[in-house]
């Protein structure tokens, strides 16, 4: 059994919580006591149906306002796969939550109400999935029951989305007409839409190929922690612990340590008390080397003929997540792989209009939830790839040292 992480986003009314409630219920991830609590609440509110959205409305503030305000994680499993859902709200001010939820996703699920068609929010979500290079996207056209399961309505939305998405970078797209409330095409194929010949949503989630999305070519091993037991049994043991960010690393491989540029050979790769034949993403292992080279946290192992950039100038697309706007000249911290460095904002090149995709140049600042292209200069070099090439070595967060908050997410261009 493997693991698929997917991100959903949708407006308050397009039935996202109902859809997730149904996926959880139909895969038996909901227990009787949870179901009873939700049924009671539904009755108390005077509904004549069980409000499935109540399963996922977590915090009291949300229940009071009747909206979802943050990223929530849900879990369910079928005999084929375990699923982690990053469930994010769709309203305008929460772009940052969509970015957060999408950052780890293998698949993005965009939900639209068939009566309204594509909205600003569904476009924004598709754009964010594309910017964060989520490899698989599903557009679920919901509430088909309310448009008499009309193929024309579905086709119109499908055409709209396809023409919009050609401006984006979406490697794999599946469009599915569903009714979350009635269950059409959620787990089983709907008899109400014989004109639709594709898979049900659940079938697609269970079968979409994700293994090929990983980079097994370019070896990137950011050193996270140096293990030196200094015990009698392991007197000379010195291991470099970390999570493989790219490529396949094997004992006997010649590797280069950056930023020093020294070359050495992999002696062994440990996973607890056993040695492994190969380490690949996202394994957490400990690498032992044949030579005693000086390597510490923040350094990176790679191949001699395949190296990341070593640079103090970072050109990136960022999503600004703080109330205080971003302005040139401001100083922050950047955390990139296992390295945290000080940085100064050199230039805001443009701000991206998430609806028209227009690049607004000559903006003096980036505000909360805005996306733009920014140049940073760092005090020490970072070991980077473009985000397009590697989602781990191509991503970073910006931290405001004054209050410790995470103020931006960046993808390197």
């Amino acid at each position: 059994m493997d693991l698929l992480r997917f991100a959903t986003a949708g407006s308050v009314d397009d039935g996202k919580s109902t859809l997730i409630g149904r996926l959880l219920m139909d895969s038996k991830a909901i227990f009787e006591d949870q179901l009873e609590a939700v049924e009671t609440t539904s009755q108390n509110r005077g509904f004549d149906y069980t409000d499935l959205s109540l399963f996922t409305d977590g915090l009291r503030a949300e229940r009071e306002q009747g909206i979802t305000i943050d990223v929530a994680y849900r879990y369910f499993a079928t005999p084929r796969r375990k699923f982690i859902i990053a469930d994010t709200p769709g309203h305008v001010q929460y772009t940052r939550n969509m970015v957060t939820g999408s950052s780890t996703a293998d698949l993005g699920l965009v939900l639209v109400d068939s009566r309204n068609g594509l909205t600003e929010q569904s476009r924004r979500h598709a754009l964010i999935l594309s910017l964060l290079r989520v490899p698989h996207v599903v557009l679920a056209v919901n509430k088909m029951d309310l448009v008499d399961y009309s193929q024309d309505v579905f086709r119109r939305i499908q055409d709209d989305f396809v023409s919009f998405s050609t401006k984006l970078d979406i490697p794999d797209l599946q469009i599915i007409p569903i009714s979350a409330l009635k269950g059409d095409n959620v787990v089983t194929r709907s008899e109400n839409m014989p004109w639709y010949e594709g898979p049900s949503l659940m079938y697609h989630l269970e079968n979409v190929q994700i293994a090929a999305d990983r980079d097994l070519q370019d070896v990137r091993f950011p050193v996270q922690y140096v293990i030196r037991p200094q015990s009698d049994d392991f007197h000379d043991y010195r291991g470099y612990a970390g999570t493989v960010a790219g490529g396949v690393l094997k004992p006997g491989d010649e590797v280069m340590a950056l930023p020093s540029g020294l070359t050495t050979t992999v002696a062994a790769i440990d996973l607890f008390d056993t040695e492994v034949e190969a380490a690949f993403p996202p394994m957490s292992v400990t690498v032992r080397l044949t030579d005693d080279v000086d390597i510490s946290r923040g350094d990176m192992l790679c191949r001699v003929n395949n190296q990341p950039d070593v640079t103090q100038d970072v050109d990136a697309r960022i999503c600004w997540m703080a109330t205080q706007p971003l302005r040139p000249g401001a100083k922050y911290l950047i955390k990139h792989t296992t390295r945290t460095v000080r940085t100064i904002v050199k230039e805001i090149q443009y701000q991206l209009d998430v609806n028209t995709l227009h690049r607004n140049q000559n903006v003096g600042e980036l505000k909360l939830n805005e996306i733009g292209r920014v140049r940073f200069r760092t005090t020490q070099p970072l070991l980077t790839d473009t985000y397009e090439r590697n989602r781990t070595t191509g991503s970073f967060v910006v931290i405001d040292p004054a209050n410790g908050s995470t103020v931006a997410a960046g993808t390197i261009l």
Binding site: M1, D2, L3, F31, E32, D33, Q34, A37, T56, G58, L59, A61, D70, V71, A72, Y73, R74, Y75, A77, N97, V99, T100, S103, T104, R214, Q224, Y225, I227, R228, P229, Q230, S231, D233, F234, A241, T243, D270, L271, F272, T274, E275, E277, A278, P282, S284, R297, M321, L333, K335, H336, R391, T392, S395, I399, P401, N403, G404, S405, T406, A409
Partner: protein
């Protein structure tokens, strides 16, 4: 030498790798971390993962347990076994002692579970811990579903759910100011079934009360509670011996058991796969008081 077919990991391998990454990240970035140990299966899985993360070196943090005075003896025995195996330092923060010192107030109505909060926060402050690992899982409860892996606590030890730091990729932000600390949840993405599958895969020692055994129990508020001096029978209650096991372990005056014949990991996994009640809803008196019970306790600084 171990090999993986087609360079693929199972979901348990992937969860393990993610948790190990979190342990190492905390070890590298925080001055004074501690593992909060409840004695339950989740905190035992944490110890196992910590052991794997730093092997062959020792786990570089102490283990902190809040002793309610009402702990199951089987749990304390397992704890001692693990502490010895890891060679870790054990710190016990006693609720009894906290009551005696006036750190928390026992008004006779507040459960030991609630008194743990004050005791825990006091211990964290007293020892100056900057990061405290907890075994919380997001699948346990709705409020937990929104909690970060690195969950920031202010100088009063409180959680502010509306002001959480966004958490992207596997880039955890460990910035702290004086007096603040971070709760770390390395098992965030594990479900109850994942925990059991992992315990089986690794053949990990857990308290014997998780497995089916004979025990004298009585019914209270729809739960089966263990007969004990700490938990005198009330009028109309009657104890009898039954074949039971515990799905969670906590304060023995509040933790219910279920009738079960499951005496192996396999049997427990079969039982849970068809269970229709959440582990907390079924057997934890402390979570049943209100729909927002967990959210309230978390804001105050609960695990």
């Amino acid at each position: 030498m171990k090999a993986h077919r087609d360079y693929r990991l199972t979901q348990l391998d992937e969860l393990e790798a993610e948790s190990i990454h979190i342990f190492r990240e905390v070890a590298a970035e925080f001055e004074k971390p501690v593992i909060m140990f409840s004695g339950g299966k989740d905190s035992i899985v944490m110890l196992r993962l910590a052991q794997k993360a730093f092997y062959p070196a020792r786990v570089p943090f102490p283990v902190l347990q809040v002793d309610t005075g009402y702990d199951f003896p089987e749990v304390l025995a397992t704890r001692d076994g693990w502490v010895e195996r890891l060679g870790a330092r054990l710190i016990v923060a006693s609720v009894e002692q906290a009551i005696a010192d006036g750190v928390v107030i026992d008004d006779g109505k507040t459960s030991r579970n609630r008194l743990q909060i004050g005791t825990l926060l006091h211990a964290i402050e007293e020892h100056g811990f900057t990061a405290a690992f907890g075994g919380g899982r997001r699948d346990e409860e709705k409020a937990r579903a929104k909690e970060r892996v690195y969950s920031h606590r202010d100088e009063f030890g409180q959680w502010d759910p509306k002001n959480q730091r966004p958490e992207l990729w596997s880039l955890y932000n460990g910035q702290l100011h004086e007096g603040e600390h971070m709760r770390i949840f390395p098992l965030s993405n594990w479900t109850e079934l994942d925990i059991w599958h992992y315990l089986r895969q690794e053949q990990i020692e857990i308290p014997s009360i998780y497995f089916s055994h004979r025990r004298r129990v009585f019914e209270r508020d729809g739960m089966l509670l263990t007969e004990s001096d700490y938990n005198p029978l009330r009028a109309g209650e009657e104890a009898s011996e039954r074949q039971v096991r515990f799905r969670t372990v906590g304060d023995l005056t509040l933790t219910g058991c279920v009738e079960s014949d499951a005496d192996t990991f396999d049997a427990i996994i079969d039982e849970i796969s068809v269970a229709r009640l959440t582990e907390r809803g079924a057997t934890r008196g402390d979570d049943r008081f209100s729909e927002a019970a967990m959210e309230d306790r978390k804001k105050m600084g609960y695990f």
